[in-house]
């Protein structure tokens, strides 16, 4: 919110530098985001008096002036093309090396051979218009009035010597959304008196009630509605002082009564509206919910179709304003408007917000209403407006008004104690200090020993309980007085991770040991991601974001595969030739669509591996390392996925149940993505694996007798898998504790369609040692079983 320093000084004496004021406001909760010096663009520009004007010898439109610029030089020669000047005129002079509005730099030079040591300026070149300085809009050089001394800095002369503070106001302090609201805080901060607003006016012999009737049909959405009639309007220009203030806050002057409503909005934070009463059909104002399909065209000529969710101000026939947001074009004030009805109301903030959002229509007024306007301010702002009507001599003020109030809101009264406030803060703020602070903030305080009865100012609708009072105290007393203590009174509690959280940390460790770096990818993906993996149908299962940033981030993922592929592809494209990534994150599984209960968020592991040195088995290593860490055993069977290589894809099983998939990116998909290194992708239902995990330590005594190792070379048909052979080896002899495939050979020596598989088999003795001839016997038994069950033979 913009607060001009000069305006602020109308209500409170600010006798400290603006930077210090900003710092004080910051420390009490009003962050000054920017301090703008209004004349910041204007430099080395001073008042000059034209001493002589002679025509340029080589030009028929240029003139040569001599200027008295006081201490900057009493005879400065400047060439100008303007002709609205005479000798003795006082004008703004941009000296050599000066800068003007828009960053324009002025340097001395020669114009058609005549030296010119600067420039005479127009209002526009100083960045001002008629709202800043009378005559600023004149086409030509700005002629200064009054008697500023030559050499005086031009900025104070034309009203540019001012600061505008841009203040961020938190949502709980709508009362600070105005210049006067900030002035109240500043007065309390500086310990200075706050000058009251002039609210008085002289009523004339005209009556609101004779002109109009006001009915509030929706008091829930309009807790207070004040209507006051002003007749015999004139179209006198708004005085400069008011125009200048509007301009400082970025508003342009429109006409006097409209300017008054804008001025009151800025000064007090109360939005107002003025209706041309001649346009009100049936001399009625009805505040009601819009009818379904009813239409309004607002002042900015946009048409809206309304519903009963929207509050409107109507005459006997039609809506004439979108309550709290914008007036209707049909009752706009014009130059010849004879009389107006001022509206000063409190509209329920949530409804204004909803309507503004739903219709996409915003205004300064709706911005205030959304934050909240208090009924007290509504009551006095109308008087302020009428005072200004009188001051500006705009018209005759009715002696009566409509003031329809749903209920009278009483100021909040908080009964508390000094000790309760201090117990929350943790420090001892003296009682007298508490009273001083609250009083400075316009709270009224009565006290009896420890007890305090605090009545909030009527405009402070945010005050509810003693913590609010504590906050008022500490923000003025100073947060820097809060001394850190270490949970002085708290009970001891056992902290730390749960077993499940520890297990997950271990899972991550196991993967990192295998060289996998942890990735974090977005939880939302695109329908295109599913299509790319040729599982477009699966997108139907995904929970849709109603208001996504874009289609690319519109679905809550049901699989990590697209995210893993995306990460791998991005890396490869950036020239990262090799990499291993994992992510342990949730997928989101709706129980039904549309969702009527919380979906399942299932912790899932995704891996992506790429690079020339990688193959299916290095990728499989990630899952095996995890299995070892979590104390589970996975089985793998050949499987197919539309996005994986049909010959290099496995389903991962745990206890016979599928828990994951692993494979090489399908070659045609790799080609489509222009990925030339092999990419392996895997996904594991971590939640299911964790549920089966046995991460405890189970100690087994070392064998008393030495283990016996035998190598076993087998000739097999190509279709026989390692897992099948291993299973037979294990089940054929109870002493087998380890089976490891260490070589596979294909070639002429074994014949077409055959392969040789070499296993190392470990026998672990139990009650007695295993003699070499025992081991020979086991091997014979194993070979026999392999032959019978799988058709293998020993080589």
């Amino acid at each position: 919110m913009k607060v001009p320093l000069s305006w602020l000084k109308d209500y409170v004496d600010v006798d400290i530098p603006v930077e210090e004021l900003a710092q004080k406001l910051f420390s009490c909760g009003l962050e000054v985001e920017e301090i703008v010096y209004v004349g910041q663009e204007i430099e080395r520009c001073v008042v000059g008096r034209i001493e002589t004007i002679v025509p340029h010898p080589d030009s028929d439109h240029l003139q040569i002036c001599t200027l008295n610029c006081g201490s900057y030089g009493e005879a400065i020669q400047i060439v100008t093309g303007a002709h609205n000047i005479r000798e003795k005129d006082l004008v703004p002079v941009a000296l050599d090396g000066s800068s003007l509005a828009g960053g324009v730099k002025i340097k001395k030079g020669k114009l058609r051979g005549v030296e010119s040591n600067g420039m005479l300026c127009s209002g526009e070149e100083l960045g001002i218009n008629e709202d800043w300085y009378e005559g600023a809009d004149v086409n030509g050089i700005l002629l200064l009035h009054g008697d500023p001394a030559p050499g005086t800095d031009i900025r104070p002369v034309v009203g540019l010597d001012d600061y505008v503070l841009d203040i961020a106001v938190t949502a709980n302090r709508p009362d600070c959304q105005s210049v006067y609201g900030i002035a109240r805080e500043v007065a309390a901060l500086l310990g200075k008196p706050l000058r009251p607003l002039a609210l008085d006016y002289t009523p004339a012999d005209v009556s609101t009630a004779q002109q109009v009737t006001v009915t509030v049909e929706a008091p829930d959405l309009c807790p207070r509605y004040i209507a006051h009639y002003v007749s015999d309007l004139n179209d006198a220009p708004t005085p400069l002082w008011m125009r200048r203030r509007l301009a400082l806050c970025g508003l342009r002057s429109i006409r006097n009564v409209v300017d008054i409503t804008n001025f009151v909005l800025l000064e007090m934070g109360q939005p107002m509206h003025a209706f041309d009463i001649s346009h009100l059909a049936g001399k009625q104002i009805v505040v009601r919910r819009a009818r379904e399909g009813e239409k309004i065209v607002t002042l900015d000529e946009k048409e809206f179709k309304l519903s009963p969710e929207n509050l409107v101000i109507c005459d006997a026939e039609k809506p004439v304003a979108l309550a709290g947001i914008m007036g209707g074009l049909n009752s706009e004030i014009e130059a010849d408007t004879p009389a107006v009805l001022f509206e000063c109301a409190k509209f329920e903030r949530a409804n204004v917000r909803r309507t503004s959002r739903a219709l996409g229509q915003k205004s300064d007024s709706s911005a205030r209403y959304e934050k909240g306007v208090d009924a007290y301010t509504t009551g006095i702002a109308i008087n302020r407006a009428l005072h200004l009507v009188e001051e500006l001599g705009c018209g005759k003020i009715a002696r009566d008004r409509f003031d329809v109030m749903a209920e009278v809101t009483e100021p909040a009264v908080v009964k508390t104690t000094v000790s309760a406030i201090n117990a929350l803060l943790g420090i001892e703020v003296p009682k007298e200090e508490i009273k001083r602070i609250l009083t400075a903030l316009n709270f009224s305080v009565t006290s009896n020993k420890d007890e305090l009865t605090v009545t909030a100012p009527a405009y402070r609708e945010d005050i509810e309980g003693y913590p609010d009072i504590a906050e008022e105290v500490i923000r003025m007393y100073g947060y820097d007085r809060i001394e850190g203590t270490f949970l002085k009174n708290a009970s001891n509690t056992m902290g730390g991770l749960t077993d499940a959280q520890k297990l997950e940390a271990r899972a991550g460790n196991a993967l990192r040991e295998q060289g996998y770096s942890e990735a974090i990818t977005y939880s939302f993906i695109s329908p295109k991601d599913y299509a790319l993996l040729r599982i477009a149908d699966e997108a139907q299962r995904a929970i849709k974001i109603v208001n996504p940033i874009g289609e690319d981030m519109s679905l809550m993922r049901t699989t990590l595969m697209p995210s893993m592929l995306d990460a791998a592809v991005r890396n490869v494209r950036r020239g990262n030739e090799q990499g291993r990534l994992y992510e342990l994150a949730n997928i989101y599984l709706a129980k039904q669509q549309p969702i009527t209960e919380l979906p399942e968020e299932r912790r899932t592991l995704g891996i992506a591996v790429w690079g020339g040195a990688e193959d299916f088995y290095t990728a499989k290593g990630a899952f095996e390392a995890l299995a070892a860490e979590l104390g589970v055993q996975f089985a793998y069977t050949a499987a197919e996925r539309p996005y994986l290589h049909p010959g290099k894809c496995a389903a991962v099983l745990l206890g016979g149940q599928p828990v994951g998939v692993l494979g090489e990116l399908a070659p045609d998909l790799a080609e489509e993505l222009s990925v030339e290194v092999p990419v392996y992708l895997g996904e594991l239902d971590y939640a299911a694996v964790a549920a089966q995990a046995d991460a405890a330590v189970h100690y087994t005594p070392l064998p008393k007798f030495p283990e016996v190792k035998r190598d076993l070379a087998l000739l097999a048909d190509e279709g026989v898998t390692c897992a099948e052979a291993e299973a037979v080896i294990r089940e054929s002899c109870k002493f087998v504790t380890n089976v490891r495939l260490f070589d596979v050979y294909r070639g002429a020596q074994v014949g077409e369609g055959k392969k040789s598989m070499a296993f190392s088999v470990t026998f672990t003795p139990r009650e007695k040692a295993i003699a070499p001839e025992d081991a020979d016997g086991y091997i014979r038994r194993i070979v026999k079983a392999l032959g019978e069950k799988l058709g293998l033979s020993q080589r």
Partner: protein, 342 residues
């Protein structure tokens, strides 16, 4: 006999001294020449037959002495030769120790996880547990129970993603506060970390990011306790010199509410580009738990007080590691990720 043995002794001494055997092979040949079956000392033994009986014991002793002495000489020379040969071999085995190592590089932890883990360590040491609430939440937990009714202006502070009906992507881990307080009676000390979502995307905002909510509810908890806890956090997360600053703010679920700034670690508080000249960096929001929030969870606010704080993990990671753009955290470029070690 004495003369003969003496002669052989001298002969051996001479030949060894002359360096006739520079290699093990030559030494063995020489040894055989004396101690072998047909060697000179063996020949001498065979000559014992011709020695008169009364001289034999003396001759035998001399012969034995000679044999023992010779063996000792050859053994010593053999050891010396082996030592020299090994030394020569080792001398030829010099490698270039600057050649690349052979090792298997471990993976890295995502910087956000590093920060999260560090926070969990700091706070679990203070008796905090860790609770992870759902990411897809009901409006009630994300807003209403936190004293943010429908159409409250505070909802503007967070542009929320909706997934239909009353369900949304949680915009803050504060939702976890409510779920904990509903289930657990005070004393409560809990952290609630996790993913949160807001419709915002630029160099400092990501539509998905991570927060960690901290909540303490017990008897006699004060604003000073909040300050003490956060001071400790600041020192441990950054440096022992890091200071915190409270300034007033507003969150509907805390009262009083504060914005917490840390002294800028880059300039030590003097003011620089990173802290925009202020010497302070805004890192988190906090405050004393609003009475209404306690009431919503069935906790008597006249008996218990508490504080809550919410930390943006990406923001901490960006400050701590000097990461300039939040999007880097989600691109998962391995050159980026590999820099963050356990």
């Amino acid at each position: 006999m004495k003369q003969k043995t003496q002669a052989i002794r001298e002969e051996i001494e001479q030949r060894l001294a002359a360096g006739e055997c520079a290699t093990s092979k030559e030494l063995i040949e020489l040894k055989m020449e004396y101690l072998g079956k047909g060697g000179k000392i063996s020949a001498l033994s065979k000559g014992m037959r011709d020695v008169p009986a009364e001289e034999r014991p003396e001759a035998g002793r001399l012969l034995g002495e000679l044999r023992a002495w010779a063996e000792e000489q050859f053994d010593a020379r053999e050891k010396e030769l082996k030592r020299r040969e090994l030394a020569a071999k080792v001398a030829g085995e010099r490698i270039d120790v600057t050649m690349p190592a052979k090792f298997h590089a471990g993976g890295s932890v995502h910087p956000v996880t590093l920060v999260r883990r560090e926070l969990e360590e700091i706070f679990s040491g203070m008796g905090f547990n860790i609770f992870e609430g759902p990411e897809i939440e009901r409006d009630y937990y994300n807003f209403q129970a936190l004293n943010i009714p429908a159409d409250h202006p505070a909802r503007d502070m967070q542009d929320t993603f909706f997934v239909g009906g009353e369900y949304l992507l949680r915009s803050q881990t504060s939702s976890g506060q409510i779920r904990v307080m509903e289930k657990q009676a005070p004393p409560i000390k809990v952290l609630s970390p996790g993913r949160v979502y807001r419709s915002d995307s630029d160099a400092t905002h990501s539509p998905m990011f991570h927060q960690m909510e901290g909540l303490v509810v017990d008897k006699g908890i004060t604003l000073c306790d909040l300050k003490g806890i956060l001071d400790e956090f600041a020192r441990r997360m950054f440096t022992a010199e890091t200071k915190t600053r409270f300034r007033p703010s507003y969150f509907p679920f805390t009262e009083p509410s504060v914005e917490v700034d840390l002294s800028c670690k880059n300039c030590g508080g003097k003011g620089c580009r990173i802290c925009k000249g202020t010497g302070w960096i805004e890192v988190l929001g906090a405050g004393m738990v609003n009475r209404r929030v306690l009431e919503n969870c069935g906790i008597d606010p006249d008996v218990y007080t508490g504080f809550a704080f919410g930390i943006g993990l990406e923001r901490i990671a960006m400050i701590k590691y000097g990461i300039g753009d939040i999007r880097l955290l989600f691109e998962n470029d391995v050159r980026f990720l590999r820099q963050f070690k356990d």
